[in-house]
Structure formats: C-alpha cells, structure tokens
C-alpha cells in the first residue's frame, strides 16, 4: 500500500508529463483497435464475397480433382455426402455443383466459357452471381420440374459481358458444347437465355454461365456424379470445426477431400495473411515507439529523483521496495493509458461497426483486392478476446520498458545517489 501510495503521488507530481505519456499509450492502443478492427472487417467482407463469388466456406470434391481438373475425380454418391453435410448444425446450406468448361455458340459466334451446373432452388441464396441483386435482366434458372413442357430447352443464365459479346437477348437460343467424361466425342445441348447477371468481375461476367445441374450431368455423361459440394456456413469462423466434422463424416474409401476456403481460395487467404502481417508490422513499430517513450519517461523520472531515492535508501528502504515503486509507477501509467485507450478505441470501433466506412468515399473508387470488388460499406470487427490480448500486450510493453529503470534504481548506492544533483 505504501509503495502504491508513493507511486500514485509520483504519478500526480508531474501531471502534464504523466498525462502526455498516458495519452501516447492510449492513442497507441486506440489506433491498434481501430486499424485491426477495420482490417478484420475488410477481411471478413472479402471472405464473404470470395465465398459467394466462387466456392463456399468449405469445398468437398474428389481426391485429385484440384490437381487434374478432370472428370475422373468426382463425387460419386452426392446424396450421401449432402445428407451428411446437412446434419452438421453450423452448415447453412450444402450446395451440389458441376463445374466444367465448354464452348458457348450463338449463331456464327462461339466463346469458351466455364459453366456451372447448379440446383436452381438453392443457388440464388448462396452465390453472388445467382443472387437477385446481381441480376440485370430476366429471371433466374428454373429446374427441370418447373418447366412447362417436358422437352422444352433448359434455361441458361449468363454474364452481362458475355451476352453483349455474343449479342444475346432474353429468350435467345444458344448451344453449349463440351467433352464428356472419358474423352468421347463432344456433346451439345441447346439452351434459351433466361437471365443475365453482372458481378463486376470480368471472369464471371464475360466467361461464365449457369445451367441446371441435370443438363451438366447429361452433357458430361456424369450420371448422378457431381464435381463439388460447397458448404455455406452461418459463421466464417466455424470453418475449422466444420471441416473436421465433415472429414469425420465421410468414409475413407469415398476418396473425397474436404477443403476450407483458406485452401480453396488460396490467393485470397494469402492476401489476407499478408495484409495482417503488414498491419502487425506497422503496429509493432508503433509499439516500439510507445515503448521507447515510456522508457524515456520512466528513466527521466528516476534519474531526476536519484537524490531522493538515495535518501529513501539511507533511511532504510529496501532496494526491492524501490524496484517495486518504479514498477508500480509504470503499472499506474499502463492502467490509465490502457483504460483511456480502450475508451477511445472502442468508441471509434462502435461507430465503425454500426455506421461503417464508405469504401468509395475512402478510396475514391471501388477497390479490387485479390480479384474481388469491394464496394458499399466496410464495418469494423473486433473480438473481445483480441481486444483483451492487445491491451495486455500494451500493458506488458509498458512494464518491460520500466524494467531497466527499475533495475537501475535497485542498484543505486545510497551515498552516491545522495551526492547526485
């Protein structure tokens, strides 16, 4: 108590200096929280968008499909796998797909496209291209049992740029040609353009189409096999748990692999990891500067009190108590600095997590990261555990910075210290 009382009085003795040092500390922490919060928010947006643009939070496909991209490595019992996936509570949707490439022809023109066979009843709720928000004309695909006539050509849903390039309008007839499994003669199926989408991504808008999954299976001679099952989760954070659960649910002999988006969307994942590394490096620099500031303040306050500390030692204060005194002063600095920093940082965070930041306003334009267009608003995201961790780290930096001055004090000799002016 005596040590703490002395430390508190010393803290109050140079109010301005203490205030400035605490504020530097507070701003360091607040900046950390804001920067990390925005980065987390942006990354979450990128993941969400990446997952919706392409894959899913978790991808299941045949072992070897990723490397070979052929139709020999497919999912042969999609029903069983879909049923197993839908039993996992964190899975919002399990989506069957057939991905392949082919040639889309209209009249005299042809374009090489990537086509995806989808279940029209599920796809619009999980995929960006199929969503209502991205549709610029017509309607989305109908499944076979929604068609008016049995032998009517199926629907095809195409990108806006592709429609423009092939000069296609709603209801126009196109032919999709692809090589079936096993490398037989190319097969063709005719479709009628049902709708047009625009995502802002050139690869999707110019070179991709969606068709009912049955047509894709027929075109590729897959029978009931499919090339991938995408799992959409309630929360992106549950990926690890779902991957484990899914791996456990699939028997070894089915020769399937279960990939988290971090592997399926490796480029996006690397971008995020790199961005995080940049953020942490920047914060490390800020922390070093804060640490040097604290070190300087504590050392200065100790050096200018050398005489006084010498008297305290002479009249019987143990060196251990003086060490604790300096550390207690640093601890007070840390507690006040962190409290103010949390106050400032969390206020900003609360504003940024509800109102958000307008990306266009901030960057003056749409921002493209790892092939994804970021637009609209970005929101700050922080987890309680990471806020606590950063606060503890800052507090530890303060205490570490005070170690040397405290150690120096504990090595003072009373007579020499009292001669100090």
């Amino acid at each position: 108590m005596l040590t703490f009382r002395l430390a508190w009085r010393s803290f109050l003795r140079h109010r301005r200096r203490s205030a400035i040092t605490s504020l530097a500390l507070a701003l360091g922490l607040a900046m950390m929280l804001v920067v990390v919060g925005i980065a987390n928010g942006a990354h979450a947006r990128m993941v969400e968008l990446g997952v919706r643009m392409g894959a899913g939070h978790v991808i299941i496909d045949g072992k070897g499909y990723r490397e070979e991209r052929d139709l020999e490595h497919v999912i042969k019992q999609p029903r069983d796998v879909l049923a197993a996936a839908r039993k996992i509570s964190k899975v919002r949707a399990a989506v069957p797909r057939v991905n392949a490439s082919g040639l889309l022809s209209a009249g005299d023109s042809s374009v090489a496209v990537v086509f995806t066979g989808v279940d029209p009843s599920i796809e619009p709720s999980v995929s960006e291209a199929a969503s209502n928000a991205r549709r610029v004309a017509g309607e989305y695909l109908r499944s076979h049992d929604q068609m008016e006539f049995a032998n009517q050509p199926s629907d095809i849903y195409i990108g806006a740029q592709l429609a423009k390039n092939l000069n296609l309008g709603l209801g126009d007839r196109v032919v999709l040609t692809a090589s079936p499994r096993g490398g037989g003669n190319p097969a063709s199926i005719a479709f009628l353009v049902r709708g047009v989408f625009q995502t802002g991504l050139a690869e999707l808008d110019g070179f991709s189409v969606q068709i009912p999954i049955e047509d894709a299976q027929k075109l590729l001679d897959l029978g009931s096999s499919i090339t991938e099952i995408a799992l959409m989760l309630e929360h992106a954070d549950d990926v690890g748990a779902v991957v484990s659960a899914m791996r456990a649910a699939i028997p070894e002999r089915t020769e399937l692999e279960v990939l988290p988006w971090q592997e399926a969307l490796a480029e996006l994942h690397e971008t995020i990891v790199l961005d995080d590394a940049g953020t942490y490096l920047m914060m490390a620099v800020v922390f070093v500067i804060v640490g040097i500031g604290i070190f300087n303040t504590v050392l200065m306050s100790v050096v200018e009190r050398t005489r006084e500390l010498g008297v305290m030692m002479a009249i019987g204060t143990a060196t251990g108590r003086l060490f604790r005194l300096v550390m207690a002063e640093a601890a007070i600095l840390a507690v006040i600095g962190c409290a103010v920093g949390l106050g400032i940082g969390l206020s900003f965070h609360s504003y940024l997590s509800t109102t958000g930041l307008d990306i266009q306003e901030m960057f003056g334009n749409k921002m493209s990261v790892a092939g994804l267009m970021l637009e609209g608003r970005m929101y700050s995201r922080l987890m309680g555990s990471s806020v606590a961790a950063w606060t503890v780290i800052i507090a530890c930096i303060v205490l570490l910075s005070a170690l040397y001055p405290a150690f120096r004090v504990s090595r003072l000799k009373p007579i020499e210290a009292m001669r100090h002016v």
Binding site: R13, M312, A314, G316, I415, M418
Partner: protein, 231 residues
C-alpha cells in the same frame, strides 16, 4: 556507568579517484557512549562525513571494524544493512531530506510504515515527535510548503520517530540561517535530554560545535582530539 552504542576499531577508508588513492580515514578508533551528544569537527576533507557514513552503515571501511549495539557491520549484506539502518539509526542530512510527495506527517511516519508498526501506535508516535519538534498543525504540509528550518525539523522528527539507538546528523545546519540553525541545535539537545537519544553530528558550524558535549576533532583522516565538555 555508560554502555557503548558504537565501537570503532582502527578503521581506514581509501577511495580511488581515478588512479589516485585518497586516504579519507587513517586508523581511527572511537567509542560512542549511549546518551552522547557528540560532534565530529574538522575542516572539509578531514574525513568527518566519511566517518559518519561508516557509522551509519552507508559505506564500508577499507580496514578495521565497526560494531553498532554490539553487532559487527562487516560482511553484512546490503539488505541486512538497510534493515539495520531502518531499525537502529535515524538520519538527518544537510538538505532535501524529505520525500517530496509525502506530507510532513507522512514523512515522519515513513520509517514506522517500513517497520510495519500498527496504525494506532504509529499515529501516536508521529503526533508525539511532531509535537516534540514544534510542528503540530503542519502535518498536512508538503516539504515544498515548509521553510528550510521546518523541513529539517521534520527530518529530525522522522529520525527519532522509531526510537533509534542513535541519530546521525550530517551538517544539519549547513543550509539554515544562524537563528534557525541555533534553534535546531537547541531542539536536538532538548530531545537528547528528554528522550535519551544519542546524537552524532558532523559539522564545522560553531553553533553546533559550541553545543557539543563531546567534541571529536579530525584532521587529514586522523583523530586529533576527543574532549568531553559539560553542557
């Protein structure tokens, strides 16, 4: 019949100043009796402050032996010495004696807090010593709000608060005007009479030297005279 508080046997102190050896004390032997009001006098450089620091366990002799209350100070570790200073010795230095962030009351209380004296006894002891040095009513003042003489009185109060075996005062009047200095010496003399505290001063101030009951003169690190005088 007197008992000794400090026994000094043939001590020497050599400092190294760069490559030069300075012999601050050369073979000094001395015994301080309980109830002494002794002044170590001599010109500057005579070794009086060095001797006082050695008696106060703030420094170690190069040779010889010092015992305080029969306890040999040689080979004691710095922690044990700090503890000994806390419990057995009161200090009054030239100036800037006090902890600036503590009030007069808290400064006088400080050694008692370190000793872990219970609150009731602490309060009583601090009131008593502040009263004895004539500073009742100044309890809540910080050192910066006290005059130089008042600050030295608080230092005296702090020195005697815990009932030490002896009080060491290193040039306590050096920074005071002559009237205040005289008052301080009179105060300490009165405390010696009333509370049977043993005082050792180092000083060349005539006000202190004149009041000495035992005058120990040092020159060039050697004891040149030791005379007892009636009060």
């Amino acid at each position: 019949m007197s008992e000794s508080v400090v026994e000094i046997e043939n001590i020497s102190k050599v400092y190294k100043q760069g490559s030069v050896e300075v012999h601050a004390l050369r073979g000094v032997s001395l015994t301080i009796e309980k109830g002494d009001f002794a002044v170590l006098a001599g010109p500057s450089g005579s070794g009086k402050t060095t001797l006082l620091n050695l008696i106060g366990a703030l420094d170690e002799p190069s040779e010889g032996r010092i015992a305080l209350d029969g306890v040999d100070l040689s080979h004691m570790r710095s922690g044990a010495l700090a503890n000994l200073r806390l419990h057995r010795i009161g200090f009054v230095f030239q100036a800037y004696n006090l902890i600036p962030v503590l009030t007069a009351y808290e400064n006088a209380e400080y050694p008692l807090l370190l000793q872990g004296v219970p609150v009731a006894r602490r309060r009583e002891a601090v009131r008593r010593v502040l009263d004895a040095v004539g500073l009742s009513g100044f309890e809540d003042r910080r050192p910066s709000e006290l005059s130089g003489g008042q600050q030295q009185r608080v230092a005296v109060a702090r020195a005697i608060a815990a009932g030490p075996a002896l009080v060491l005062a290193d040039e306590p009047t050096a920074n005071l005007d002559s009237k205040t200095g005289t008052e301080l010496v009179e105060l300490m003399h009165g405390l010696k009479e009333e509370h049977e505290v043993t005082f050792i001063f180092s000083s060349h101030d005539p006000k202190v030297v004149d009041r000495a009951e035992r005058l120990i003169r040092l020159q060039d690190g050697q004891l040149v005279s030791d005379e007892r005088r009636s009060a």
